[in-house]
Symmetry: C2
Subunit: 414 residues, 2 copies
């Protein structure tokens, strides 16, 4: 028998980051508005795991009307410009559903022109690579322009399609583009790429994990067949939750119901969708997404203000000698990647080495820099009030100043 005493520590786990300014770019779009968590508590949604299943009649959470999940998914579809939307266990599970669909599609009749290849941007998120691996699709990559802008051009997709065509005699089975890529926050030319996909007749998925819920977008404008979204990354929701939006045409395949009939017991599960594990449950993350939805729709309408704040912050940071933004200029997303030679110099002399920077920020109540990194940093000010954004800037300046003086570095004090 397991010893209870040893387990008590799990009852006492503290949240080290209860009241902090969060600047981790994977988190800022997933901060839960006060009204949402107050509602979650007030309505006691924390009292049971299967919280949305009380009034499930059909055995499929997306069809539940109390709470209004079915209606909500229609609204999310309109919001994303898709025809049909299902919730998933995160954007990664949505991508997997697409990849599995394509993997089966290219093996089927009438798809002889398509190879078992997914063509991606070379800065796609790791979950895209993993989803392809899970579904048994091979990856082909479109190159980026390298340092310092790391841009992806739509024309690169055309070239690569032609290259695949001449090598294999077939088209890629799928083009998958990361709407905003996770390394530098570059916005890829998803619409232009969509036109190329359309021209060649190649199914097209846009991974909008960093944009759906942040930036106005419409998958029809992007000429996309599939759009994948992350609710905990960009739609102010608890994890894990994502959405998969599809066109009517592709929805038939990606949301196809189970076809198995068991040999002996003769059971079939016609409301269950294999690509999303039959039913994706939802639970408290889905409730949180519903409570946050108005907030999310409204904030997307204020994206230009967010972008202005982000660009202001870039200019401020670049006042530090040698600090500069990596990625496209002008920048179009809240995810920022800076080269910070000043902090790299400090790290060489600091007893905490590269860890000093994240630790100094935490001391100032600012959390989210990757621990150990000082030469390059990634951060986001999304959702912060102007005074908080100024506090973040001031913290960087203060830390630089402190150590320039302490180590007598040949850098101007910012």
């Amino acid at each position: 028998m397991i010893r209870i005493d040893r387990l008590r520590k799990y009852c006492e786990i503290k949240n080290r980051y209860k009241e902090v300014i969060i600047i981790n770019p994977i988190m800022t779009g997933g901060l839960i508005p006060k009204e949402t968590w107050e509602k979650l508590i007030e309505e006691n949604w924390l009292n049971v795991g299967y919280s949305v299943c009380f009034d499930c009649i059909k055995g499929q959470s997306s069809l539940v009307s109390k709470p209004p999940i079915r209606d909500f998914l229609s609204e999310v579809a309109e919001f994303l410009g898709g025809d049909i939307v299902h919730h998933t266990f995160g954007c990664r599970a949505a991508q997997f559903a697409v990849m599995r669909t394509i993997s089966n599609y290219v093996k089927g009749e009438g798809a002889e022109d398509y190879a078992n290849i997914v063509l991606v941007d070379s800065l796609c998120h790791y979950t895209t690579v993993i989803a392809a691996e899970m579904a048994g699709l091979r990856l082909a990559e479109v190159p980026h322009s390298g340092h310092p802008e790391y841009r992806i051009f739509a024309d690169g997709f055309r070239q690569k399609i032609e290259e695949i065509k001449s090598k294999t005699g077939k088209l890629p089975g799928l083009i998958a583009v990361t709407h905003v890529e996770p390394y530098h926050g570059n916005m890829n030319p998803a619409e232009e790429i969509g036109k190329i996909a359309e021209e060649y007749g190649i199914p097209y998925m846009v991974n909008a994990a960093y944009t759906a819920g942040i930036i106005p977008l419409n998958m029809k404008d992007l000429h996309a067949d599939f759009l994948t979204a992350s609710a905990h990354k960009s739609m102010a929701s608890l994890a894990p939750l994502g959405f998969l939006a599809a066109s009517h045409e592709w929805a038939k395949r990606v949301f196809e119901e189970s076809k198995v009939r068991t040999e002996l017991s003769g059971r079939s599960f016609k409301n269950k969708i294999p690509n999303i594990f039959g039913c994706s449950i939802g639970g408290i993350p889905l409730i949180s997404a519903m409570y946050s939805f108005v907030h999310v729709v409204k904030r997307v309408g204020r994206w230009e203000e967010e972008l202005a704040k982000t660009r202001w912050f870039i200019r401020e940071m670049e006042k530090m000698d040698g600090v500069h933004l990596i990625g496209e200029e002008p920048h179009n997303h809240h995810l920022l990647h800076f080269e910070t030679p000043i902090f790299w110099e400090i790290s060489k002399r600091h007893k905490r080495r590269g860890f000093f920077l994240a630790e100094e920020m935490i001391k100032r109540g600012i959390v989210g820099l990757q621990r150990g990194l000082s030469r390059h940093i990634k951060l986001s000010l999304y959702g912060l009030e102007r005074d908080q954004a100024e506090k973040v800037r001031d913290a960087f300046f203060e830390i630089a100043e402190r150590y320039i003086k302490k180590f007598n570095l040949d850098y101007p004090v910012p």
Copy 2:
């Protein structure tokens, strides 16, 4: 632009079942203890989606030490008798990981003796069927004994293995057994089946969605290579969350790290595990599981008391004329399935037809009967205090009495 006005209803969603007695058998093992949800609120874990990722260094939630996820998973491994445990997006995702592993295994070198077949009990949960479908495994089923006990015997597995062997010349690639099946709450002879699996050298998975966290068990005692668990079904956790436990030998395969190296960008993701989407995030469900763990370990130690209450309730229910338990006798699990001819008779005369029963129970603050069913009902009293269990019994008796009188039925008043 989507109209905000129309969306306000999502901010106002009410929990219709805030303060009720829950008797839905998928829910009772997933009721969140007061201490857990108080801690979730007190520590403000509702404030951000990626709540466990602040101190992630290696890009894999199962390796995080703050909060102590890595340690926790070791404890869960000990609790389940496994060597290695990872958390997953629910038991369904854990089963899929196993099925995908086997699907790849039987295609590989050295596994020529194994067919692309998973042998299951014919009362397995639908998620087992869907997981096999997702992974491209064919299903073969072991029959049950039919009405009224619906038992599965270990010997049926031996017979079916021999049948598959003589038909295909190969062994099934996997035996997957539902430890307690979801239709009648029968406990399958998992240990005996495990010995048969071992004898033939067939990989063996036990789906413990209804038992891990409820009943003392140890996968080594069951001779299992894999054990799948549902945290929101049976470990007092928020959804979606599951666990996959594996032996050392199989852990190497099922938790194998990503092998892809992208052609152009040369990226590889060595801490990412494809079978669980790279990383299964965790989020607030995982935090809830950690807070609830002591409670779960303790309650498993009190299983005999729960079982005594369950058996008492069966005897009470069977005092109603014609009502009797379907499934094995004596019963060994909290999931109960009754035939209730008295309620069926009432439903024929009631204007709400079969819906009357669930609705009458809800009026009495008791929630969880499937709406529309009156001839057969499924319920669970797991975790209820004795006075609450009596309240449930009394509610059934009252409803029967009321309508026996109202419709002048030829049934004795209970």
